[in-house]
Symmetry: C2
Subunit: 449 residues, 2 copies
């Protein structure tokens, strides 16, 4: 019998737990799951005989170490900043570890110790990071294996609302942490490289410099730049690539409208607004010029200008001109007020489903000709527990867990799923769960601009 | 004989030292001046018998305490963050202290201890803060004394190039620390209140929302908002004022053009650019969209758009399209690269003079009618040692020093020059140094919008 210890049973653990419980009988697994919220754990285990709900403090090393010692594998779904401490315990107690989060510099330093302990610490094995790495590396390796030279890699991921639930003028609902959506892109310029030219986009222009894409059957998307595209050159071993760009997907119009919030200063989380009892109207007016002879509506229309007047109804639909009802926050930042306004309109309705979309574009030279491959994946959630986000984050980690416990995956050390022996079986099994990439190869054209 | 200890002999100490030395014989003063740069001190003393150059480490409490103990007054021209520690020494050793810097919260807490020690700790007695307080409080008190109700206070200060030295398309030269100019306005939204409405301007729109002013004989100016106007309500004891706005002055066109740098992301100091050997052209291109079919000039023109095309020549004049000569920095932030580009063109030429401009606008109700007063000051530097900045920072502190040492100023505790007994004699004596406010009262109109 093998024991799996899962730290954290939040939203993104649902599909992970379900998969492992479903495969527990055949593999003789025992799941021990801990969360601050014991009821949540029990709900997710749903009476399954191979699941045990625990209620210790997973952030306390003393409390978790006896559990880690007994386990064959730990899956940490804790906030990313706790992973390194968990990893240190795992190394000492010689227990394998999986986390869906980015490898931190501190985590990377544990590589040798993990190898010495004979354990694997698998990171970045969710959706983004995770499925993005695996699906991209598959094609990058195919191109390299046949002797092609990769010249361009662009990759976009978006957590969106499913088409059947898409019924508002923003073509967006909060399918994930609203605060992260409001603060998206903050904290520094976005950097990428295009045909050898380094490009930097400041936050206040991020939603203004967009790429446009279409997926057959799913319509149009736009992508804005992620903060750091450059580090993927090292991660993917493509240091000399002339073009690399990673972005986030939204539906057309969303970014142009979101840019209005940024321009006005409404996404700022760095200070508290001093006025009490703000209504959406007063909140908006605080960012518009003073003019006692013009209504807030007129000033806002003037701010939008001719070019953006088609966006007006999106804001009207948000009840942003409402001068009657207070937002209900005090001493809050602009970002917090904005979030509260948006949450009144952009939360999921009953029965709504989410959707994860991923699009890769590769260009490469081979035998003197320019080639292009696109690869895309669209996945729609089952319901509001087994969301697409939960499935795409949890299933890669769960499949990887199976590979570790069954001995299929023999690697040790601090690693991530960029190697064939890891991503091939995972991508294959993900297809059974409708997480499937559609690849297209475009006819070669003569190389050159 | 009285002893004055001056900590720091940098640019802004020149006029302070000159005034005190000039008045040293009649008042029987001995100046002891310390700076890291002993030659600098000697140069400023210029052989005067009442000046003594010292070379200990003024930041080291142990080294400065014997000097503070011997002195009757310390004037700290050190960077603002060191003032509190100096103040603690002064309290313990019962020596008066003057600093030109803003009172920090920590400094304020020393008020009682200073009173107990029987000393005065005078702060904010330079130009901005300093002369702005004094000239504004004079009029605010006059309005209040006759029973008027202040309804609006706007105040602008600018450190600019004198008209006779103003010979470039930016109508600007670095008359002060260039780094501070490049980073001006960063670090949070600007906040003010207008007719009871709180207004917030994010940094990326700060140079875009401007006030326009004219001073007879000196031409046109524009003002952009300072970060925090609201705190002046408490400082000036005008908590209920419906309109308060403080801003920085530039010549017309400067702000619109500077806004282009901000919009592009060139003033960002939060990350290092990764490309080596940047020329101004490559630096600019890093912030413009990729387009192999368009030159940097064309892309920049498109970025400016029709409305701002008149600004193009300002940028051309900065040699920003220069693709030949490297900027000569490595691993620098955008702000550092921009500063280096600007320093090649915007430094003072020999014989250039600086200019400090201050403009206040007051509105008040009195006997049922609406009144308006404006007050402005224009001061031009003598040369590049006794600049207007040095005169306007140093002379108020120097005059205040005289008042303390001669016993004219009897107040104790942590204070600033907002009281009649302080500002009246100082403003009066400043007129002898051509630091003179011209006040205008406008004919009353019937109160109301």
């Amino acid at each position: 019998m093998k024991t799996i210890l899962i730290l954290g049973a939040g939203l993104s653990s649902s599909s992970l737990i379900r998969y492992l419980l479903e495969h527990s009988a055949e593999n003789d697994w025992q799941l021990r799951i801990v969360d601050r919220d014991l009821d949540l754990v029990k709900q997710k285990i749903d009476g399954h005989v191979n699941g045990m709900a625990l209620s210790f403090n997973a952030l306390d090393s003393e409390e978790r170490r006896p559990e880690i010692e007994e386990a064959d594998l730990v899956i940490s779904m804790l906030p990313a900043r706790f992973h390194v401490d968990v990893a240190k315990d795992c190394i000492e107690l010689k227990t394998n570890l999986i986390t869906p989060s980015y490898i931190s510099a501190e985590m990377r330093e544990l590589d040798e110790a993990a190898k010495k302990a004979g354990i694997v610490i698998m990171n970045e094995i969710g959706v983004d990071p995770g499925i993005d790495h695996m699906s991209a590396m598959k094609i990058i390796h195919e191109i390299q294996d046949k002797g092609g030279r990769l010249t361009s890699f662009k990759s976009f991921t978006g957590g969106l609302i499913a088409p059947e639930s898409d019924n508002n003028p923003w073509n967006y609902k909060f399918t994930w942490n609203p605060r992260n959506v409001v603060l998206a892109g903050q904290g520094g310029a976005s950097c990428f490289i295009r045909n050898g030219e380094y490009k930097y986009i400041p936050y206040h222009r991020l939603f203004n410099r967009l790429d446009y894409m279409t997926i057959e059957g799913y319509g149009d998307f736009v992508g804005y730049a992620n903060r750091d595209s450059l580090s993927y050159r090292t991660t993917y071993g493509i240091e000399d690539i002339p073009t690399i760009f990673r972005g986030t997907l939204r539906r057309p119009g969303y970014c142009e409208a979101w840019d209005v919030f940024i321009e006005l200063g409404m996404t700022d989380d760095s200070y508290q607004m001093v006025q009490p009892n703000l209504t959406p109207r007063k909140f908006l007016n605080a960012f518009l010029p003073y003019n006692p002879n013009k209504t807030v509506e007129v000033k806002f229309r003037e701010f939008l200008g001719k070019e953006r007047e088609h966006l007006y109804e999106r804001f009207e639909w948000l009840d942003i001109f409402d001068g009657e009802n207070q937002i209900g926050l005090h001493d809050a930042s602009p970002a917090e007020y904005l979030q509260a306004i948006l949450e009144k309109k952009l939360m999921l309705d009953e029965g709504d489903k989410d959707m994860i979309v991923m699009i890769h574009e590769f260009e490469y030279e081979w035998k003197g000709q320019q080639h292009k491959i696109t690869s895309h994946m669209v996945n729609i959630g089952e319901d509001q527990v087994y969301t697409s986000m939960s499935n795409t984050v949890g299933l890669p980690a769960a499949i990887c867990a199976k590979m570790i416990l069954t001995g299929t995956l023999k690697t040790t050390g601090v690693t991530l799923p960029i190697y064939k022996e890891i991503y091939q079986p995972i991508l294959k099994e993900l297809e059974e769960y409708h997480i499937r990439f559609i690849e297209k190869e475009f006819s070669p054209s003569v190389s050159g601009q």
